[in-house]
């Protein structure tokens, strides 16, 4: 779960990391009020995506009328297809230098990694490798002062900023651990002309799998309405822009299915991973949702492991009865109870394939015929 900048900053602030004075605004009037209270402000679109700056999502205003105008502009925008519905109005900063600091889960080393650079404010990917300091953190013991000092030394920072950045890194790691974050990031972390070090931006992505023990966090919702609907069934779902709806069981086989459809010239409408152990009920619901998106054809590709092919067959039969669709449907069943599954489908008039490539070729052909 991604948090909005203002939410991340609230967590940072609570952890003792300096953040600018700011107010959340949902309307132009609220932005004007914030400016009246705070003086000259930066008004920043709050969206759950990066690249906001380049997309024009930040404006500055010295007076309340300017703030209202800027806010009105921003509230009409969309950034990466996400409509802007809220703004963070923050006291304008007098910036001397922009740094980057972030902590992420590193799958390769199986531990957190701290990444820092004196070249902040841009995409960290564009910073030359020699200007990036990386340090693995032992999850057993956490980030110690000495390790943060070594990072700051390698960044090339001097006192008094160095000591302040060390302190911020230690607090940032605490946020990372306390809130089960996959990523915490301050970009830029700025040194003000007065010497103060402050988080000018903030990002915190929380592990979805840990939300059950992070009840105190604010909730955000990502994805389209449809994606959220399928997700609420406990399944993984991503909307794509093609016309062949796909359901398979397992992320790898679902991706492979999309790859094969594309290779045969088809365009997948979605990624729907029913998971290794999905039950009949959510699979039925998911199929209903897929059919309701009015694709040109549907491919169900199941290799039975935990999932039993007869369960899948029953789900398909049930979904077709509920939705009463005439969308062409291709089913591939292989593995546990494959024969039983194929028989169930046959009784409902559906021929199942045993090869995923034959099934993919068939569904592409059907989607083409449907043109």
């Amino acid at each position: 779960m991604k948090l909005y900048e203002y939410m991340a900053k609230e967590l940072f602030g609570k952890a003792g990391i300096p953040v600018p004075a700011g107010r959340l605004a949902f309307t132009a009037q609220e932005a004007a009020d914030a400016c009246a209270e705070l003086g000259p402000v930066a008004i920043k679109a709050q969206v759950l995506a990066g690249g906001r700056g380049k997309a024009g999502g930040i404006k500055f205003a010295d007076t309340p009328p300017e703030a209202a105008a800027a806010a009105a502009d921003l509230l009409g925008m969309a950034i990466r297809d996400l409509a802007v519905d809220r703004l963070l109005c923050e006291q304008k900063l007098s910036i001397e230098r922009e740094l980057y600091v972030g902590i992420a889960v590193d799958g390769t080393t199986r531990r957190p990694v701290l990444i820092a650079s004196v070249q902040g404010g841009v995409n960290i990917e564009e910073v030359p490798e020699k200007s990036i300091v990386r340090r693995r953190i032992g999850v057993t013991w956490g980030l110690f002062g000495y390790a943060a000092r070594e990072v700051v030394r390698r960044m090339g920072l001097d006192e008094p900023a160095a000591g302040k950045v060390v302190d911020i890194l230690l607090r940032l790691y605490r946020v990372f651990r306390q809130y089960d974050a996959e990523l915490v990031e301050i970009n830029p972390l700025v040194i003000l002309t007065g010497g103060e070090v402050i988080a000018a931006d903030g990002r915190c992505n929380v592990d979805d799998d840990a939300l059950w023990r992070q009840r105190d966090l604010p909730q955000t919702t990502e994805g389209t309405e449809l994606e959220r609907k399928v997700k609420s069934l406990g399944l993984s779902y991503v909307e794509l822009d093609g016309d062949i709806a796909v359901m398979a069981n397992g992320a790898g086989i679902t991706m492979a299915t999309l790859d094969i459809i594309q290779r045969y010239g088809g365009r997948p409408a979605n990624f729907l991973d029913a998971g290794g152990g999905a039950g009949v009920e959510p699979m039925t619901r998911a199929l209903e949702v897929l059919i309701a998106t009015k694709p040109r054809a549907v491919l169900v590709n199941i290799f039975g492991g935990i999932t039993r092919c007869d369960d899948v067959a029953n789900a398909i039969v049930q979904a077709r009865r509920t939705v009463k669709t005439d969308v062409p449907m291709v089913v591939r069943l292989s593995g546990t109870n494959e024969d039983e599954g194929i028989e169930i489908l046959a009784r409902d008039g559906l021929t199942a394939y045993r090869s995923m490539e034959e099934a993919a070729a068939r569904v592409v052909a059907l989607a083409g015929e449907a043109n």
Partner: protein
């Protein structure tokens, strides 16, 4: 031979009294796995499918000599279960459970590394040395013994591939599911290192996917291997920045792209299949060259 598990492996099923634990205990017993014990706190003294149940893994190790465990415990309790197994001197811990918080996974791996324990998973289908021992939830009938080692990030996709290999008469020495999460116990390099040393393995199949950098690291390692490696990577059609089900399959910051992985693998002298169905032929060619 084989790697990680073999006919000597004695398995303890953690959460054996649950629906999944019970079902797969039956499956594993049917396969011939030596399931010697199960655990379920507060249910010590019962039996499941003829297997004695204990309150703790320590007891299962003391009384039944378990050397491996398989964890079906729900995610919130999985860390406790994994630590229990490691602390009880279990040597191979297979974590089937999905949705384990990544911070818990990091802690499990740190503790396992301290104790020199092999962790398979989490979010894995398990590990099987066909004809000898199956610890996992994979179907019993798709594997046959033989010279091909398989290391895979994805479960069902690897079943598909194992099934195709078996159908082509290409049996497997050991099939390892690394697990679909971002932080897992074994990576490709760990498996390749073991398979390279295993006398029974003559060729290796690597089943990868986009996201992360495990395939790129594997490609580096393959350069120094004597055994041929054939790879398939899923996710060619995935749009950048979209989550495709696994945390491990996020394409972010330009790393872990399909093209990058394929390039690396080819440079590492792996044969690369474009479709799963091409794998049997490529493996056959590789075996003929050995």
């Amino acid at each position: 031979m084989a790697i990680i598990v073999d006919e000597k492996t004695k398995v303890c099923v953690q959460a054996i009294t649950g629906r999944q634990g019970r079902f797969h205990t039956r499956q594993m017993l049917d396969y011939g796995t030596r399931v010697v014990a199960g655990t379920s706190p507060g249910k010590g003294g019962q039996e499941v499918e003829g297997v004695p149940v204990y309150d703790t893994v320590e007891e299962a190790v003391d009384k039944r000599g378990a050397t491996a465990s398989i964890i079906f415990v729900p995610a919130p309790f999985a860390k406790d279960a994994a630590f229990e197994a490691i602390d009880a001197k279990i040597q191979v811990v297979t974590i089937i459970s999905e949705h384990i918080p990544v911070h818990d996974a990091m802690e499990i791996m740190a503790f396992a590394a301290q104790r020199g324990v092999t962790v398979v998973g989490p979010n894995t289908f398990g590990v099987i040395s066909p004809g000898k021992c199956k610890i996992g939830i994979m179907p019993n009938r798709i594997y046959i013994p033989g010279p091909v080692g398989i290391a895979a990030r994805s479960g069902t996709l690897s079943y598909e591939i194992a099934y195709q290999l078996s159908s082509a008469g290409l049996g497997q020495s050991t099939v390892v599911g690394l697990g679909g999460d971002r932080v897992v116990g074994l990576d490709f390099v760990d498996c390749l290192r073991m398979l390279e040393r295993d006398p029974e393995t003559k060729a290796v199949v690597l089943v990868g996917e986009i996201g992360g950098s495990a395939e790129e690291e594997a490609a580096e390692f393959i350069k120094g291997m004597t055994k041929p490696v054939v790879a398939y990577v899923a996710g060619k059609s995935a749009p950048p920045g979209k989550r495709m089900g696994h945390a491990g399959a996020i394409i972010e910051r330009g790393r872990g792209t399909f093209a990058g992985k394929i390039d690396a693998l080819k440079q590492g002298d792996a044969a690369v299949a474009e479709l799963p169905s091409e794998l049997p032929a490529l493996v056959k060619q590789a075996l003929e060259r050995v």
